[in-house]
Amino acid sequence: MEYRDVRTEVTDMKIENSKAQMRKGVLEFVVLQLLQSREMYPSDIIESLKKARLIVVEGTLYPLLTRLKNAGLLDYRWQESPSGPPRKYYSLTKKGNSFLAELRLTWNELVESVNETSKNHTK
């Protein structure tokens, strides 16, 4: 019951925008996480993200990768592909690693505090 009330309040503040903001922060985190384990090229990343239902359109990924690369968190190398022209394989840099570690910390804290507050409220 209370859940519904909260929702109607929130719609006034452009719910879509808030959702997008949240997802956006998470997306960056997830991409870095994916790349920590292994090098991937954009289509691989998209596949994983789609499976996790984190992105709707693929176009979102490219500006993000470029931004992270320009920030020095990612690096890429060209690798020949079995079919067609060479592909860009992205990997995490040192800086990216420590950045990710920090994000993970923040994420855990966030999850905790969100759970905490929602518990208190819904009770």
């Binding site: 925008n17 997008a20 359109v57 979102t60 500006p63 993000l64 470029t66 931004r67």
Partner: protein, 555 residues
């Protein structure tokens, strides 16, 4: 049967249906607009194109070799439109590199769509929300204020970037840069073209085919003619260019040599003394006639040199470019030269404005010179010879001729200092009965006020000498170079009593001016004759018939 187009995307070649191609192109253009001006925008586009190529590849097989519009639609929905992107959605949370994102902050750009010169005024106006006419008028008015307008304009044009992309154009106006607003803008501009084309098509629907055929033939003919003409001109032009180039180089070099000589004198170094008087035979010396203020003198000097130097350098570089392959007059050089030129114009105008105030009013002084008691009934009017006057420059200036001389001998103090000279005049009036010959010297000059004008007039020096029965007049008045040249005038008025006789020597022709006489004889015909003052004016006593030319139209 359908037409296909072969495209290269992401380094691969695909055959694509025409309709699909148009769809894809439109989509990619939307993306390009969206990412333009953003850090790494080109890279993002390249990545997206590579991905599209991959997706195309998945849709191609031996049985289906052409990309269809359906494929493109599918791919667009996979890749998404910029509106669907999550990245850089909002302004408050995106940091540093998101400069090209979706914020609405205005920036100044030059507006290439509404420009008179470089679009500076319209760009700034768009930023401020003004009507560009206001700023344009302001710049034109600023032209009058020491010529600063063009200078400021050029500097602004260099600093302010041109709005190249639609995003930049929107930002110039402060409209939020969203894909919708960009599309709206793009659609608007396309629509107007489209409408025009449609309109034309409707009007000429019937005769379209004929028109097209005829048009094609005509265009081809004109193109052939034009090509032939261009070839001919190219050959002629190359030869002519070389010749013009050499002429330009020689002319400019000569001009530069003259400029250097007049700036530095032929053997001295340019110095302006504190009192504004300059030394020796230099350009600066001559400028003393305009102003004696050292600061203005310097401004005028630099201004004049800049204004003369720039065209000379321009001509020289053009000559070099024409003669050799080396392009001497590049954009930057041209801009620098223009700036220097306008600075020069500004300086000259500044001094000109300040100097023009000195011409506000005219005042005159009259010196009555003692009656010429000693002289006989006949007064001989002759030229006073003070020796050689070296006319270095001769300039017609404000209805007086203006001579400048650096080397004069014979002026009473025998100085070799530079002086400025102007021609003076002698006229004759009838004096009262029974009086003596009388000479008046009327000096006048302009000045900022009556007092200044009088001061300036007092600087005018004239020379005359009575020797027995003759009046000798030096044909030039003189000013020292520390005096200002404010349209000085010197007129001698000789009052001749009734029954007095004057005789003009042939040499006096150079300064007698508009002398009234009963026969309306020209001044030049009056010399060499005796003239008797009668009740009605001067009458020639020894003119033979052929000398007594009348000028009917003369008062």
């Amino acid at each position: 049967m359908n037409k296909t187009i072969s495209i290269n995307i992401g380094g691969r070649i695909f055959n694509i249906a025409e309709e699909a191609y148009q769809k894809l192109e439109k989509y990619l253009n939307t993306l390009k607009v969206y990412f333009s001006g953003r850090e790494g925008g080109d890279e993002i586009i390249a990545d997206i194109e590579a991905r599209i190529a991959e997706l195309f590849d998945e849709r191609i097989s031996t049985s289906k070799q052409v990309i269809t519009p359906g494929d493109v639609d599918e791919i667009i929905s996979i890749m998404g439109r910029p509106e669907d992107y999550m990245d850089d959605l909002d302004d408050d949370s995106t940091q540093e590199s998101a400069a090209g994102g979706g914020n609405t902050s205005r920036r100044i750009y030059r507006d290439p769509d509404d420009k008179v010169v470089f679009g500076v005024c319209s760009g700034i106006s768009a930023y401020l929300g003004w009507d560009p006419v206001i700023l344009r008028a302001a710049f034109v008015i600023a032209l009058l204020v020491y010529g600063t307008g063009p200078l400021v304009y050029i500097i602004l044009a260099l600093i302010i970037p041109k709005a190249k992309t639609t995003a930049e154009k929107l930002r110039m106006r402060g409209e939020p840069v969203t894909v919708e607003s960009i599309s709206k803008k793009v659609r608007e501009s396309f629509k107007s073209v489209n409408d025009d084309v449609n309109e034309f098509g409707k009007r000429h629907a019937g005769s379209k085919k004929d028109l097209q055929n005829f048009g094609k033939r005509l265009v081809k003919l004109l193109a052939d003619l034009f090509e032939g003409l261009v070839d001919l001109l190219r050959v002629l032009g190359r030869a002519l260019g070389k010749i013009i180039g050499i002429v330009f180089i020689i002319a400019a070099s000569f001009g530069l040599a003259v400029l250097v000589a007049s700036v530095f004198g032929f053997d001295s170094i340019f110095v302006i003394r504190e009192n504004g008087a300059a030394v020796d035979d230099q350009l600066v010396h001559w400028l003393g006639a305009v102003t004696t203020d050292p600061r203005e003198l310097r401004m005028l000097f630099i201004g004049l040199v800049a204004v003369v130097l720039v065209p000379l350098i321009g001509i020289l570089l053009t000559g070099i470019s024409l003669f050799t392959k080396y392009n001497g007059l590049s954009g930057l050089t041209a801009i620098v030269l223009l700036v220097v030129f306008f600075v020069g114009v500004g300086l000259i105008v500044a001094v000109g404005i300040s100097t023009s105030r000195d011409f506000a009013t005219r005042a005159s002084l009259t010196d009555r010179i003692t009656p010429l008691e000693a002289c006989a009934d006949t007064l001989v009017i002759d030229v006073l010879d003070l020796g050689h006057l070296d006319r270095t420059w001769k300039v017609k200036f404000d209805d007086a001729r203006f001579y400048y001389s650096g080397r004069t001998t014979g002026w009473d103090d025998d100085t070799t200092d530079a002086r400025m000279y102007g021609e003076n005049q002698l006229t004759i009036e009838d004096g009262p009965r029974g009086s003596e010959f009388q000479l008046r010297m009327e000096r006048s000059s302009r000045g900022g006020s009556q007092k200044q004008a009088l001061e300036n007039a007092e600087m005018i020096e004239g020379r005359y000498r009575f020797t027995g029965d003759s009046l000798k007049i030096f044909p030039y008045y003189s000013l020292r170079t520390d005096a200002k040249w404010r349209s000085p005038r010197l007129e001698y008025v000789l009052s001749v009593p009734l029954n007095g006789v004057v005789y003009f020597t042939p040499a006096s022709k150079s300064f007698i001016y508009d002398i009234p006489n009963v026969t309306n004889t020209y001044d030049r015909d009056m010399v060499g004759h005796h003239w008797l003052m009668t009740n009605s004016g001067l009458e020639c006593t020894d003119c033979s018939g052929d000398h007594d030319r009348r000028a009917g139209n003369r008062d």
